[in-house]
């Protein structure tokens, strides 16, 4: 026993230490708009600075995607706003105590405010505000001649302009609905006096309007917070605690503006902020373009390769069944055709509750999209076999399986290969959407490029995707040489009998 103990004890120590070292990586998610990505990046860098292994799954999607991913444990942390939590997610009361109680039931913890709020606000033209002494919304009551311009949504929503007017008893008559970007330009040009704004719009930094204080507390608070799972290790919690109250609205606006106007990379902005406030190293590991594209290519090829293999394994047998069984044909072709009509974005979102986020659901969605050309071409290939050849096969006494293997599939092969080729080329394009749910690939730079209005970044994804599509096209021309009998590719000989 004693000897056994001397062996077991060191072993246990080694295992425990090993387990500590193999501590799992913390995943930080963010929504697909700049502010969320910046906060996610900041959280990730602080975790790393605190010695916690962490990765940032940037711009995963909208609120629903992030919330579901957090509940499913696919991510551990993401930045959220209290107003979104109570109005969209939990549909509960908006005070902190109610929110914390509702979240606790789901195993989620809400951090203290990060220091700024991002709700609706009213912005007034700087000169007008100075001249009339406008500092808060109540000040508008005395100036019925002011021209107001609101985003269409704000004008229409029950909790938008109509309720705001009722709460403050605002007298203005000249109120119009218009596009948010146009409203900013109108305000700058002096054709509008007051517009609605988001608390941290990058334009606030650019146009420097006067923000009117919501003195009657009409607008819902959109306090920025971090949501994390209650299983988050103490070391990680400690690292995140440094963000409490750390980011002011002005700083957030400046960071948004740097990302949007100056096209500074998110990681750089977050690193600069962290160095200034927390004295971190501020070093950003920046992969070269070639390396970045290389990594995206691997991700993209995995998406296309695996989904295509799945679609072939599923689609060809379905096509054979459809070609042979009249009654099942309609069902199979109808169903695969119907699935093709589901918008890819909607399909990806449907996949999330079933398969989570990341590569898995993207693969399933890609298989679904690749099915139709494969099934349809398999059916067409078998249908297209000339009647005399069918008769010959029957006359030779070939059984069902032999007929399929020796005659039908080889004859249908050119059509099947063409179907797989079509599916592959489509999959290369569709796989870029996988980035929306965190599957990576060429869609990642495209998504970031669209968000930041950065054409170079969009091309970094779009150009390799187009080249890959061409390569796939060429590859299948070679595949055809390999799997289609030479007898089907030859031109008829001159009759020399």
């Amino acid at each position: 026993m004693k000897r056994a103990g001397t062996i077991v004890l060191p072993l246990a120590v080694v295992l425990t230490v090993g387990a500590c070292h193999a501590e799992r990586e913390i995943a930080v998610g963010s929504k697909k708009f700049t502010e969320s990505v910046l906060l996610g990046e900041l959280a990730t860098q602080l975790l790393a600075d605190g010695g916690v292994r962490a990765r940032h799954e940037a711009q995963l999607g909208g609120t629903r995607v992030l919330w579901d991913a957090l509940l499913a444990g696919r991510i551990d942390i993401y930045p959220e706003y209290t107003g979104t939590l109570c109005q969209e997610i939990l549909r509960s009361a908006c005070d902190r105590a109610s929110l914390e109680r509702a979240l606790a039931q789901k195993g989620i913890v809400m951090s203290p405010s990060l220091g700024f709020s991002d709700g609706y606000a009213l912005a007034a033209n700087r000169e007008v505000a100075a001249r009339l002494g406008l500092g808060k919304i109540s000040d508008l009551i005395a100036h019925p001649e002011l021209r107001l311009g609101f985003s269409e949504e704000f004008v229409a929503r029950g909790d938008g302009w109509p309720a705001l007017r009722a709460r403050y008893r605002l007298p203005q008559k000249d109120v119009r609905g218009l596009d948010h970007d146009l409203a900013w330009r109108g305000l700058a040009a002096g054709t509008l006096d007051v517009i609605d704004a988001y608390g941290t719009d990058a334009e606030i930094d650019y146009y420097k309007p006067a923000l009117l204080d919501d003195d009657l507390h009409y607008f819902t608070e959109y306090e920025a917070v971090l949501l994390y799972r209650d299983t988050l290790p103490p070391a990680a919690r400690a690292a995140l605690a440094r963000l409490q109250g750390a980011v002011s609205a002005t700083e957030m606006i400046a960071m948004n503006a740097r990302a949007k106007r100056d096209k500074t990379p998110d990681a750089r902005i977050a690193a600069d902020f962290a160095r200034a406030h927390f004295g971190t190293s501020g070093v950003v590991t920046n992969d070269g373009v070639a390396r970045r594209i290389g990594a995206r290519t691997v991700e993209h090829l995995i998406l296309v390769g695996i989904s295509l293999a799945g679609a072939i394994l599923l689609g060809v047998p379905l096509g054979i069944v459809a070609a042979r069984r009249r009654r099942l044909r309609r069902l199979i072709l109808g169903t695969t055709g119907l699935m093709q009509t589901i918008p890819s974005l909607a399909l990806l979102v449907f996949m999330i509750p079933l398969f989570g986020i990341g590569t898995g659901p993207a693969l399933v969605a890609l298989v679904v999209y690749s099915l139709l050309p494969i099934v349809r071409n398999t059916v067409a290939g078998i249908d297209g076999i000339a009647a005399p050849l069918r008769e010959s096969a029957a006359a030779l006494g070939l059984g069902g399986w032999e007929r399929l293997r020796l005659v039908e599939l080889p004859l249908a092969m050119p059509s099947i290969v063409a179907g797989v080729q079509t599916a592959a080329v489509i999959a290369v394009g569709t796989a870029t959407l996988g980035a929306l749910i965190g599957a990576g690939g060429y869609g990642q730079p495209i998504l970031t490029g669209i968000r930041l209005d950065d054409t170079a970044l969009i091309l970094e994804g779009a150009v390799p995707a187009a080249l890959l599509a061409l390569a796939v096209q060429g590859l299948f021309d070679l595949v055809e040489l390999a799997v289609v009998s030479r007898g089907l590719r030859l031109r008829p000989a001159v009759d020399d009998d």
Binding site: P388, E391, A395, L406
Partner: protein, 247 residues
């Protein structure tokens, strides 16, 4: 009993319609070891009759027997079948087409049999490595004949075997097929609308119209003693080839 034994194919009160259109209505026995030609204009039901004999089409009424037994899958392996244009599989070489009915047999046995058949149908052995598109129409028909004979069947059914060939190659193949038929002594049933085919190959001719037998007998009898004005009309229409063969 001797008469019964002489019957290779028996079609007992067989009827077949396509929709409301009657295709075949016959009561026939086809003799063993002889060549019977099913003759008639397009749409007379002669091809349907042949496919009934092969079991490719099931009759609506009546019964078809082969060699005194039912026409099942085992029986079908004892019947060779050649169609117009050969019906060769384009994705297989000539050799692979010929070997298909005997797949799984040892290589040496296949090679010996294929060599034997190539000699019989006078096909140069080097053509066996070619794909059907690389062969001429006549060569394809010879390969098809080899495939039909691969398992040494007791009966050979031919559906317009010379249909797509030019006259010279047609005549050549007619003679070759006649020689093969005589040498092998097999039961042959051939569908054609060509009086030349019938004259060269047919021991007996069955003239069909609208799915029914109009007259049956040797060609000379059809010429000398037509059972119906239609017989004379059909023969008259093809007078030229008749003269060529000296009838």
């Amino acid at each position: 009993m001797a008469i019964y034994d002489a019957r290779m194919f028996e079609l007992r009160a067989v009827r077949k319609s396509w929709g409301t259109q009657l295709a075949v209505e016959v009561d026939l026995a086809l003799p063993r070891g002889r060549t019977t030609v099913l003759l008639g204009p397009s749409g007379c039901g002669k091809s349907t009759l042949l496919r009934l004999c092969m079991g490719l089409v099931a009759p609506d009424a009546g019964e078809i027997r082969f060699d005194g037994g039912p026409l099942d899958r085992a029986a079908r392996r004892r019947i060779g079948y050649v169609i117009q244009e050969g019906g060769l599989f384009p994705h297989l070489t000539a050799r692979q087409n010929v070997a298909l009915p005997a797949r799984g047999r040892p290589h040496a046995e296949l090679d010996a049999r294929i060599g034997e058949l190539a000699e019989l149908v006078r096909l140069p052995a080097e053509l066996l490595q070619r794909y059907p598109v690389e062969l001429s129409g006549g060569q394809r028909q010879r390969v098809s004949l080899m495939r039909a004979l691969m398992l040494d069947p007791e009966a050979l059914l031919l559906d317009e075997p010379f249909g797509a060939l030019d006259p010279i190659i047609r005549a050549e193949l007619q003679q070759d097929l006649r020689r093969i038929a005589q040498r092998l002594g097999k039961t042959m049933v051939m569908v054609t609308h060509d009086l030349g085919d019938a004259a060269t190959l047919g021991d007996e001719i069955i003239l069909l119209r609208a799915g029914r037998v109009v007259q049956r007998g040797p060609l000379g009898e059809l010429v000398r003693a037509p059972a119906d004005p239609f017989v004379t009309q059909f023969i008259e229409a093809q007078r030229a080839p008749l003269e060529k063969i000296g009838a």
